[in-house]
């Protein structure tokens, strides 16, 4: 069985801890990080807005792409250390949610963390990327809270009963 842990900045320790707690000892663990094109794209756009500064080698977006690669590698290193057992590190880049679903093909379990508004229980605790991955995952999914889950009192009262 293959267990895929999708790690993102800020919330990855919870996913690693979930793998430690729930993945079978014999399972092959894959630590996955996906770099999206959006943040370097912001820098590309800002540079394009500087009309006439024609030196493409000064475009900060390219530098961001390179930096993104090293920071992803560092995140996976830290996660592997926290996991404390043999694992495979996988770095992908592209549309984040689609890359995750593609990576989960044929897996026995996909572990991911909520990325939305985590002040209350409910559908908004999933951001668009995690929502897409949960909805489209071709395998069982383990969805964890990055920090202790909020209390049941955060659920709004049930609507009045209609006959």
């Amino acid at each position: 069985m293959r267990v895929i842990a999708w790690l993102t900045e800020g919330t990855w320790p919870a996913c690693v801890d979930a793998v430690r707690a729930h993945a079978p000892r014999a399972a092959e663990v894959v630590l996955l990080h996906v770099s999206g094109p959006d943040v370097p794209g912001l820098a590309h756009g800002a540079f394009a807005g500087l009309l006439g500064r024609g030196h493409p080698e000064r475009d900060p977006g390219d530098l961001l792409e390179a930096l993104g690669g090293t920071s992803a590698a560092r995140l996976l290193d830290a996660a592997a250390e926290r996991l404390g057992r043999p694992c495979v590190r996988e770095e992908r880049s592209g549309r984040v949610e689609r890359e995750v679903v593609a990576a989960a093909e044929g897996a026995g379990l996909l572990v991911l963390a909520r990325d939305g508004d985590r002040s209350r229980l409910g559908p908004r605790s999933l951001g668009p990327a995690v929502r897409f991955a949960v909805d489209h995952a071709p395998c069982p999914v383990l969805l964890v809270w990055p920090e202790p889950a909020p209390g049941l009192a955060t659920i709004p009262p049930a609507p009045p009963h209609r006959p």
């Binding site: 900045e9 800020g10 794209g41 756009g45 500087l50 006439g52 030196h55 900060p60």
Partner: protein
Amino acid sequence: MAVPAAGIAVATGAIPLDHARAEAERLGPVVGFLAAVLVLAHFCAAEGLFQACGAWMARWAAGRPVRLLTAVFALASAITAVLSLDATIVLLTPVVFATAARTGVRPKPHVYACTHLSNTASLLLPVSNLTNLLAFAASGLSFTGFAALMALPWLAAIAVEYVVFRRFFARDLTAAAPAAPDTAAPPRMPLFAVVTVACTLTGFVVASAFGVDPAWVAAAGALVLAGRALARRTATPLTVVRAAAPAFLAFVLALGIVVRAVVDNGLAGVLGHVLPGGTGLPALLGVAALAAALANLINNLPAVLVLLPLAAPAGPGAVLAVLLGVNIGPNLTYAGSLATLLWRRIVHQHEHGVDLGEFTRLGLIAVPSSLAAAVVALWGSLQVL
């Protein structure tokens, strides 16, 4: 691209030769000023100013996203104001990204902050933005007079952006991993660069009191930093010339001539009808909104060249309102304007990958609110000063 167009405009008689020469003479000092600021920023980066900024931000934020955002706002605003928006986009943005990634914080809000503040925080000084240099030459204000009138709008616009960012990126700003212990060596302060920049700023104020063109002060500051690098053989004369971006300077001159040709051939009449007159609050709001709209269509550089001759007769208030519009406005459109966006589409430079829906939603909230706050603040400053 613009240089041949300017040549055609002159050759076909779309602009009389003496008009073209007058435009070039008017823009000459502005271009020189710009070259000096570009050189200043380049050698600040070479001295390690921006790396030090990254280390300071990481230490102060200690892995907490909201604190990092506050630090990014403070630094990006200061760097944009003093070393121009180019420095923030080209030199500070990669450092901010690396700092966020290193401290386990999601980089998106912080990189967005750099791109927004490179526009919004470029209101304060004539050197902050090329548009300001152009308007400064046309407004008849002194360096300190310009800064005094723009200080309040600058602060108001940044404050509104900050509130918008805290709400818009609330989710990303709550995600923080336990920060890895900061093993980086304590930042080394690039003292020489900081002192040179501080002296240059003081020089602007002194020069403006004695009626000396502040471009000379900027040139002196640039010469000091470049001279030191040359003496230590960390730079060659070629590096200095490249830092001044001669192709860009030629582009600015040529663009000025092309725009003059377009304005002379009828655009002035059309826009003259639309541009509100007077310097009351509604008129200033109208001027700023029109300038923002035009900047989003054709980019802010041509927009300010088109609008300045029309706004200048109404006095410095109208000129500064144009500036608020063309400086804050570009946050609404990816790549700063529809023209650039189309151009990039045509030449297929990049598959940009940015979530345009998110970009535009943020712009639709941030631009009108910060622009309105800045115009009201400008109106208030004009009443008092």
